[in-house]
């Protein structure tokens, strides 16, 4: 099952990549990430005045020679990063060939792999109408199989509410980290408020926008009764040229709005649909780091 999510070639390409993080986070253990804390890495961060009890090995003697004051050299601490893979598993993710959920799970698997091999802590938070019981943060390359198995077991069902999901997620007071939202973002409750809340709680949201090919390229014509997979709502559409154009215009506006919002708030937005394969989409995001 896990093999279906990550094939060996793809894993090889992922091995050289790291997750892109725009912010710094305070980790719980030493890791490969710059932390907001000062630590013992080789990267200089700042000076401060010496106080009794400080490690005299960190006194900057050159500065003392110039200033005749004892100051300590401070270095950037490198700690681990917590990556939350917030995976939409609502019923709408079941559509498409392959289904949007499958695509999202493969992306999540790849991201989890990169995170675990990069000494990050990885947590998986599946959500529908609310946050499901998450996979607690875990670290270490040995845990890759465990995470993939967890991802593989996720099935689509129910409605979507990112707002409720984020509310419930934040209610557990998680350590700030990289929150990668993987879903179609077609949420009747909207997505701006939950993403804003994540930002306000010092998280760094990343959007992996997954859409099915039939959502990007609707049928060329016909009389259809589209049934909403989550709400059951029925919308009758005679798909002529005008109707198709109106839909595509709405889709573009939706994607542009999401992308613009992310750009405005310094988030990463990744299109996991259209002409790019999901590997290309993922690699384009990772290479940016």
């Amino acid at each position: 099952m896990s093999a279906s999510l990550l094939d060996p070639d793809f894993i090889r390409r992922l091995a050289r990549l790291r997750l892109l993080v725009r912010r710094r986070f305070a980790g719980t253990a030493g890791g490969a990430r710059r932390s907001t804390r000062r630590g013992a890495s080789v990267e200089f961060a700042d000076h401060r005045a010496y106080a009794p009890g400080d490690d005299i090995r960190r006194i900057d003697w050159n500065a003392y020679a110039r200033l005749e004051e004892l100051v300590l050299r401070l270095y950037v601490a490198e700690e681990d990063l917590t990556v939350y893979l917030m995976l939409d598993r609502s019923a709408s993710m079941a559509v498409g060939e392959p289904s949007k959920l499958d695509v999202a799970k493969r992306l999540a698997a790849a991201l989890a792999y990169i995170g675990l091999t990069g000494s990050e802590r990885v947590s998986v938070v599946p959500f529908g109408a609310g946050a499901d019981r998450p996979l607690p943060p875990t670290r270490g390359q040995r845990r890759v199989g465990h995470v993939l198995k967890y991802l593989d077991a996720i099935e689509p069902s129910g409605e979507t509410s990112l707002r409720k999901t984020v509310d419930e997620f934040l209610a557990r007071r998680p350590r700030p980290g990289l929150v990668i939202v993987l879903g179609d973002m077609l949420d009747p409750d909207g997505w701006t408020r939950p993403l804003d809340r994540l930002l306000s709680e010092k998280h760094e949201p990343v959007i992996f926008h997954v859409l099915a090919s039939e959502e990007v390229e609707p049928p060329a014509g016909g009389d259809f009764a589209f049934v909403d997979s989550e709400r059951g709502k029925r919308v009758e559409v005679s798909l002529d040229r005008r109707a198709r154009q109106a839909y595509l215009a709405r889709l573009d506006a939706f994607v542009d709005a999401l992308e613009g919002y992310a750009k405005k708030r310094g988030m990463s937005y990744v299109r996991a649909f259209g002409e790019l394969s999901l590997e290309d989409a993922l690699l384009s995001y990772l290479r940016a780091s």
Binding site: A91, S92, M93, A94, V95, G96, K100, D184, L186, P188, A212, E214, E215, A220, G221, G222, D223, F224, A225, F226, V227, D228, S229, E230, R231, K233, R234, V235, E236, V237, L239, D240, R242, A243, A246, Y247, A249, R250, L251, F254
Partner: protein, 634 residues
């Protein structure tokens, strides 16, 4: 507004497949999508861009439905309202002759006339009034001038065709007379099928007259125009049935003429006859007419019906004729007292009589109510104070009064001056050579004079509620009349008349729809059951109960205070059975053909064109809704 061809409204049935086609056309392929959010927004955008888009399919359906409705209504030939004369006062004359009962397109001509009349009533201008005159044998005002359209429609609804020929001229004159002095714009409107022989000379004293024809024109119709049943001489209970059959129509008709007995199952005779258009054929059938257990022979019913392949009949009212059966047992003749030998000899010489001798005392002892005598009573001299019901003859009355007649003093050698040759009793009875030795002249308001002498009435007829009495104010044996043939003929006529009246049930036979004039004592309860089973009731007044009856041919079962009788009604009128329009209208002595509305004539070809149009529309719908077309359009 009325429809001259309402059956064409059946085209409206095309609406059903049209709607079904639309339902089928709108069938959608159901598809589950992740979310319909974007589709909802897109559709909102489209509606905002083109607010009529949602309506467009319904507009198309509505337009096509309207095309069908308009086509069907056009085929149904709406008429009437558009031609309605708008006048301050309107006198509507409706022809109610039996030809107006002819049915075409599901309704009768008189129903159409009533519908046109109703349109006129509804279209009256403010303050306008309308009256309705029924043009039957005599014009009858069915509704006086009235503003209430509902009341007028009710009166129109009560109109029904009758057998009597319409006297349109009299009806128009009556209507014009009532319109004298009416405001300008008032007029007479005549609604007739014009199936009347002759000319309608309009003399309306300056009042405008519109003659509108009801009905599309000539209709095929076959009819019995004459019928009779005659006993075969020397053969008891055998009779010859005569029927004269006419046919009007474009093609010859093969008809069955079938004879049945009223109240009995099965035909007693039937003949097939072919009648050319406009021609008449006679049919004679020899049949057995045995009397029933009570000695009464049933009524003979003659009916025509089209043979296979012949076109249907537009007027069923003239397909049945009822005639009294001649096959009754011999006429009982009760000789009360001692009649002159010459009279008794003539009566006994008739092979179809049974003679009984009796006297006043024995007659008085009988319980007439329990066991009524039925036959002809011949009184000589005295007459009982309470004579039994039935026809009677009184010879040389003894008292001063007899059957409401005053009997005068005896006059010697009166000279016969006149006699009523039209009376059936005096057929073939020349009396100019008859000499009477004496006469007691007869007088009385209820008497009808049959023979008049220089001294007064010698023979009179008295019509009573329970019979007819012929009174001879003299003793034939004291004249030279018994030596002459007219004497025998007169008494044989009397016997034949009594026999006919008995066979006809005691109620004079009449034409279709003619009210029954039933002899009945004052205050007597009379009930009538029509051939279709409708029950009617009346009370005897002035010796008669007049019962208006519907225009149904057949036997009307009558009961006068429980005593059963019957009355016969048949059309038997060759002119009324001809349904073709032929009335000529003249105004001021000049032909005014244009006055008869001929607009209804143009009904032969355009309905087919309109039908073709409807068919093409249907094909268009089918074509537009076929699947390949849909795919191509998308």
């Amino acid at each position: 507004m009325t429809f001259l061809a309402p059956y064409q409204l059946l085209w409206l049935g095309l609406l059903v497949p049209l709607v079904v086609l639309y339902v089928l056309k709108r069938r959608r392929q159901q598809r589950v999508v992740g979310s319909t959010l974007l589709w909802e927004q897109a559709l909102r955008d489209l509606r905002a861009e083109r607010p009529w888009k949602k309506l467009s399919p319904q507009v198309s359906l509505l337009l096509q439905a309207l095309i069908i409705i308009a086509g069907a209504v056009a085929l149904a030939r709406p008429a009437g309202a558009g031609r309605a004369p708008q006048g301050s006062r309107l006198a509507l004359v409706v022809d109610v002759s039996v030809s107006m009962a002819a049915r075409e397109g599901g309704s009768s001509r008189i129903e159409r006339a009533a519908a046109i009349g109703a349109d006129l009533a509804r279209g009256l201008p403010p303050g306008g009034e309308m009256m309705i005159v029924e043009a039957s044998g005599e014009p009858v005002v069915r509704a006086p001038f009235e503003r209430d359209a509902t009341a007028l429609e009710r009166a129109l609804g009560e109109l029904e065709a009758r057998g009597a020929r319409s006297d349109l001229e009299a009806a128009v004159s009556l209507a014009a007379e009532r319109l004298q002095g009416s405001p300008e714009g008032s007029r007479v409107v005549v609604l007739t099928d014009a199936a009347i022989d002759g000319t309608l000379a309009i003399d309306a004293h300056g009042v405008p007259v519109d003659v509108q024809r009801v009905g599309s024109g000539a209709l095929p119709n076959s009819a019995i125009v004459d019928a009779d049943a005659r006993a075969r001489v020397g053969e008891l209970d055998r009779a010859d049935l005569f029927a004269r059959v006419a046919h009007h129509g474009p093609r010859a008709a093969d008809l069955y003429v079938t004879a049945t007995l009223g109240g009995r199952e099965g035909a007693i005779a039937s003949r097939r006859v072919r009648v050319e258009p406009g021609a008449m054929e006679s049919v004679v059938m020899a049949v057995d007419l045995p009397p029933d257990a009570a000695g009464r022979s049933p009524v003979v019913e003659l009916r025509i019906s089209p043979a296979e392949g012949s076109e249907p009949d537009a007027l069923p009212e003239d397909d049945l004729a009822v005639v009294p059966s001649p096959g009754r047992r011999k006429l009982p003749v009760f000789l009360v007292g001692t009649p002159p030998a010459s009279v008794e000899r003539v009566v006994r010489a008739d092979p179809l009589t049974e003679v009984f001798r009796t006297d006043l005392d024995r007659l008085a002892e009988r319980d007439e109510d329990a066991d009524p005598l039925e036959g002809l009573f011949v009184y000589t001299g005295d007459v009982p104070g309470d004579p039994p019901a039935g026809d009677s003859v009184v010879i040389a009355p003894a008292g001063e009064r007899v059957f409401e007649l005053a009997v005068g003093e005896e006059v010697s050698h009166p000279r016969i001056l006149t006699w009523d040759e039209a009376d059936p009793r005096l057929r073939f009875t020349p009396l100019q050579d008859v000499h009477l030795a004496s006469l007691r002249p007869l007088e009385g308001p209820a008497a009808r004079s049959l023979v008049t002498t220089s001294a007064g009435v010698a023979i009179a007829s008295v019509r009573r509620s329970d019979g007819e009495t012929t009174v001879l104010g003299f003793d034939p044996s004291r004249s030279d009349w018994p030596a002459q043939p007219s004497f025998v003929v007169f008494f044989r006529n009397l016997l034949e008349r009594a026999r006919e009246r008995r066979a006809a049930g005691g109620v004079p036979a009449g034409t279709l729809g003619e009210p029954l004039r039933i002899p009945a004592p004052d205050g007597a309860e009379v009930s009538v059951e029509t051939p279709s089973g409708e029950a009617l009731e009346a009370i005897g007044r002035g010796g008669l109960a007049v019962v208006p009856v519907p225009a149904e041919p057949g036997v009307f079962a009558v009961r006068v205070e429980g005593v059963p009788r019957f009355a016969l009604r048949s059309l038997l009128d060759a002119h009324e059975s001809d349904l073709s329009p032929r009335l000529e209208v003249t105004e001021g002595g000049e032909a005014a053909q244009g006055a008869v509305d001929e607009a209804d004539e143009h009904a032969e070809s355009w309905p087919w064109v309109a039908g073709l149009l409807l068919l093409l529309i249907l094909l268009e719908v089918l074509w537009a809704s076929r699947p390949s077309e849909r795919r191509r359009a998308l």
